[in-house]
């Protein structure tokens, strides 16, 4: 049935066992002269790259709708007006930069190990990012927005943190890309390179999440906005779950894995 394209197929040797990986070869499987495979339909699939792109383009566009104060969002007298606070355009640039960087990374940097995910996930992922983006953008670009308590000092410090972490995040993504050669699917332990931003690999398994947390903490400090704090906390919880999982699989895969490393926060978590 042409309806079940390969990405949608899950084959196992044992109905309760783990699904077979794409790269496994029939000759290497523990089967005799005949083999029984158990098939499962994973449902409609969509590529990870596509999901990431749609996930990121949404917030990018949505935030700008609020920044330019398009009609129907705020009171009519504020349509197409600009905020008098300096921090508001700075925040817009940062938010947009963050998502543009993500789009670039999805297109050119990431070498994704799983090729697809169930179609249902796109609704979950997109509504999460899109709704939060709208919620944050509404308040930051609101005519009654209150700038940070410590004024310019706070914004400058927050901006520095944000940029530092964005550079860090990019460095980590590049370092992870260089680990994965397109031909072989051998897994390797990431180590610090000449780039100082990667030195954090000595203490953390998933520094990409660490830098991401740092970026959003910077953004929270810059905008002093509770919805941003909320988004940062929820994101942190999710990334910690992912980091712990990745850390555990590193430990399982490599016996010589450095014991000093923590999943996401040095020495703490």
């Amino acid at each position: 049935d042409p309806h079940w394209y390969p990405a949608r197929q899950s084959l196992r040797l044992d109905p309760k066992g783990k699904p077979l990986r794409d790269e496994e070869i029939l000759q290497e499987l523990p089967v005799g002269t005949t083999a029984t495979f158990y098939f499962r339909d994973l449902g409609a699939q969509i590529s990870w790259g596509t999901v990431f792109l749609i996930e990121c383009i949404g917030p990018l566009v949505i935030y700008l709708l609020f920044y330019f104060r398009l009609p129907l969002i705020y009171a009519p007298k504020y349509e197409f007006t600009a905020s008098k606070h300096l921090v508001v355009p700075i925040a817009c640039v940062c938010h947009s930069f963050h998502y543009m960087k993500r789009i670039v990374e999805t297109l050119f940097v990431h070498r994704l190990s799983h090729s697809t995910m169930p179609l249902r996930n796109i609704f979950k992922n997109c509504s999460y990012h899109w709704c939060f983006a709208a919620w944050m953008a509404y308040y930051i670009n609101h005519p009654l927005y209150t700038p940070p308590y410590y004024g310019e000092k706070q914004v400058k410090a927050a901006l520095a943190i944000f940029l530092f972490c964005q550079l860090g995040s990019f460095s980590i993504h590049m370092a992870l890309r260089n680990l994965k050669l397109p031909s072989c699917k051998i897994k390797k332990i990431p180590y610090p390179t000449k780039n100082p931003f990667t030195w954090i690999f000595a203490l953390v398994s998933c520094p990409n999440y660490t830098y991401e947390l740092g970026s959003w903490l910077g953004f929270t400090l810059m905008t002093q906005c509770v919805p941003v704090l909320f988004f940062t906390v929820v994101g942190f919880i999710q990334m910690t779950v992912w980091a712990k999982g990745k850390h555990r699989s590193y430990l399982k895969e490599f016996k010589e894995y450095p014991t000093l490393r923590s999943p996401i926060l040095p020495f703490i978590l």
Binding site: H142, Y145, T146, Y149, Q224, C225, P227
Partner: protein, 242 residues
């Protein structure tokens, strides 16, 4: 028997003993809890009937039973804990949602918005809750004591068919009645500008709560219907064999 084998069985016996003690403590606690809750809701029922017989009206009835209602309904939070630690085999989420919706009604609607306390819809859902809870808690009690009269089982798995929708109607009408007072007083709301750069409007929040009944109520209702079919269906099979 070789001494090695004896050591193994001794260890096994110890863990089994620990499990059995934990099981007995759990059963004892749950029996006490369910008896206490049955008694509590019975007290509420009696108080309501007495008030109505004495005064002939439902006005002021809520104020009269408010403290008892709040106490026993809040105590039900423990049930979420029971599911979480596993001594009751129900989903934490289902229990959590049900208890939270009750707590929300009692503390954040009828308790805080005094003007609606004499509405008929309040009496409707309080009566429904009382009947439902007395049935439910006595069902659990008798179950734990292994002496379940058939009529209690029948009541538990059939009355909800009518009680549940009636309760929902009572709750929704009450929230709806409270809306103008919430809007006027601006209670539980945070307006802009403020240094947190966030706002919250309790009025719109209540509207969202009302709308959330649309997806949530059918799910809980069908969950109960499925449980009912499972219990009664299982019973039919046993009778056939005999």
């Amino acid at each position: 028997m070789a001494s090695g084998e004896e050591d193994g069985t001794v260890e096994e016996k110890e863990t089994n003993n620990k499990k059995r003690t934990k099981g007995t403590i759990a059963t004892a606690w749950l029996t006490f809890y369910n008896i206490a809750m049955t008694a509590g809701w019975l007290v509420l029922a009696v108080a309501m009937v007495r008030y109505y017989l004495q005064k002939g009206t439902h006005k002021g009835l809520y104020r009269n039973i408010a403290r008892t209602l709040k106490f026993f309904q809040t105590f039900a939070l423990l049930e979420v804990g029971h599911c979480a630690i596993g001594i009751v085999r129900t989903s934490v989420i289902v229990t959590g949602v049900q208890v939270c919706s009750r707590i929300f009604m009692v503390w954040f609607v009828t308790n805080s918005i005094r003007q609606i306390q004499n509405e008929e819809s309040v009496i409707l859902f309080v009566v429904v809750w009382t009947i439902t809870e007395i049935t439910r808690y006595s069902f659990y009690t008798f179950n734990l004591l292994n002496h379940l009269p058939y009529f209690i089982k029948w009541a538990r798995y059939n009355m909800f068919i009518v009680m549940y929708p009636l309760g929902v109607i009572g709750e929704l009408l009450t929230i709806h009645a409270s809306l103008p007072y919430v809007r006027r007083s601006g209670m539980y709301s945070l307006r802009l500008p403020n240094k947190y750069n966030v706002s919250f409007d309790y009025y719109y929040f209540l509207i969202i709560v009302m709308l959330s009944y649309i997806p949530l109520f059918p799910q809980l209702y069908f969950h109960m219907l499925r449980q009912r079919r499972r219990v009664l269906h299982g019973e039919i099979i046993v009778e056939k064999d005999e």
